[in-house]
Amino acid sequence: MHLPCNACKKQPATVHMTDITPQGEKRERHLCETCAQKEGITPNAQGAVNLNQMLTAFIGGGKVTAQQIADLRCPKCKLSFVEFRNNGLLGCPCDYDAFEKALVSLIERAHHGASQHVGKTPRKIDRPRPAESDLIRLRRDLVKAVDNEQYEEAARIRDRIQKIETP
């Protein structure tokens, strides 16, 4: 025994819904497949599930298309947004700006709706001191000199390193 569709009264109802009216009353509805599709309750079998639309609605409230998101690529590290979604790791600090349109909703979901930093900020931002870069270069030269058995050169480099380390 099939329930007839509430709308067309002809077809057997296959979609059964219970919802609450704005007045707070419980309402049951039984529809056939065709009427349910007409009312937009079930998707149309002929490709009604538009992945683009779904993604767009999900990510940017209709402002950004899925194609735009798929095309996002960091100009600096060349990572694409799709690659990021696949492995979960960003490629460089610039990605936060390059992917911002798509990333902000992910960030908000991960952080209980927050997208603005609160807390510690760097006290002082300095470029690496020249001595630091020199030390890196000198240590590399030292290894190279020892490898090449240029011991006099190695001793000179060692002395320069010591001079920087103990000013």
């Binding site: 492995n87 991960a110 997208s115």
Partner: protein, 275 residues
């Protein structure tokens, strides 16, 4: 090498009981930091990894910390020592399993470690026995400040400290407290703790963090939200709200167990078996 010294004693977080040690085994804070001007590690070349390690090593080995720290290049550490460092919670499994130049600076008292080239360029960690989150925060904040005097961190006005994974962005802080909760486990009430933790956006994990089993009824509770809340607020939540509540709950479960299962039931098992 520092590993020889470590091997002679048990880990500091286990060796001495700390505040609330009847339930709180250890507390830990870690900060994730990246150096400005370099890609994150998934896109870094071998040369960039090496350069980062060298630059960071200079600051970790600096005169101010001479004698208090030892830096280990992980490629120079054998498998057994690596395993010991993982067991002591001084390095992560991820650091062991990853490839390329990477290392760790360890303080001689074993409370502090700074991993270089793990998921982020720097993972600073302070671990202490018992419940000592305030002291840990002060200590780690100081270490971070000292590094920050010499290194320009990747920082964004909106998103804060930038990290390779957006789940750590902002403060980059992870506060974890390791708890021994046998009574909650035995009574099955631990499920309620899991649910409450989830509602508060906290993660409950096993002894060695992500993806590990809760062996020995040891559970690690940690924050998941790192953006939109200050470090001190996150620490205070643990100190004033989360941990005291779980401790009360565990104590209640222990008392219930004692009432419901008086010692008599144990003596039965020692009674001679009738043949």
């Amino acid at each position: 090498m520092i590993t020889d010294k470590l091997a002679k004693n048990s880990g500091q977080w286990l060796a001495t009981p700390g505040p609330m040690s009847e339930i709180v085994i250890s507390s830990r804070i870690r900060l994730a930091r990246n150096v400005s001007g370099y890609p994150f590690l998934s896109r870094a070349s071998d040369d960039q990894r090496r350069e980062l390690a060298e630059r960071l090593r200079i600051h970790l080995d600096s005169r101010a910390t001479k004698g208090q720290w030892e830096y280990l290049d992980l490629d120079q550490v054998d498998d057994l020592d690596r395993q010991m460092l993982v067991e002591r919670h001084l390095i992560s499994r991820q650091l062991v399993e990853s490839k390329g130049t990477r290392g760790v600076a360890i303080s001689v008292d074993e409370t502090t470690s700074v991993m270089v080239n793990e998921e982020d360029h720097l993972r600073i960690q302070v671990l202490r026995t018992g419940m000592q989150l305030d002291d840990i925060w002060n200590q780690i904040n100081g270490i971070d400040d000292r590094l920050e005097d010499n290194i320009e961190y990747a920082f964004h006005a909106r998103y804060g400290y930038l990290t390779a994974c957006p789940t750590n962005v902002g403060t980059g802080i992870r506060v974890s407290v390791m708890l021994h909760l046998p009574a909650l486990k035995l009574t099955g009430e631990i499920e309620r703790v899991f649910r409450a933790a989830k509602d508060m956006h906290l993660a409950v994990r096993g002894l060695y963090g992500e993806g590990t089993e809760a062996t020995g009824d040891l559970f690690q509770i940690s924050n998941q939200v790192t953006l939109g809340r200050g470090e001190q607020d996150i620490v205070n939540d643990f100190k004033a709200l989360v941990i005291p509540r779980i401790i009360d709950y565990e104590n209640l479960a222990r008392q219930c167990l004692i009432k419901e299962r008086p010692l008599g039931w144990m003596t039965v098992s020692f009674a001679p078996t009738a043949f």
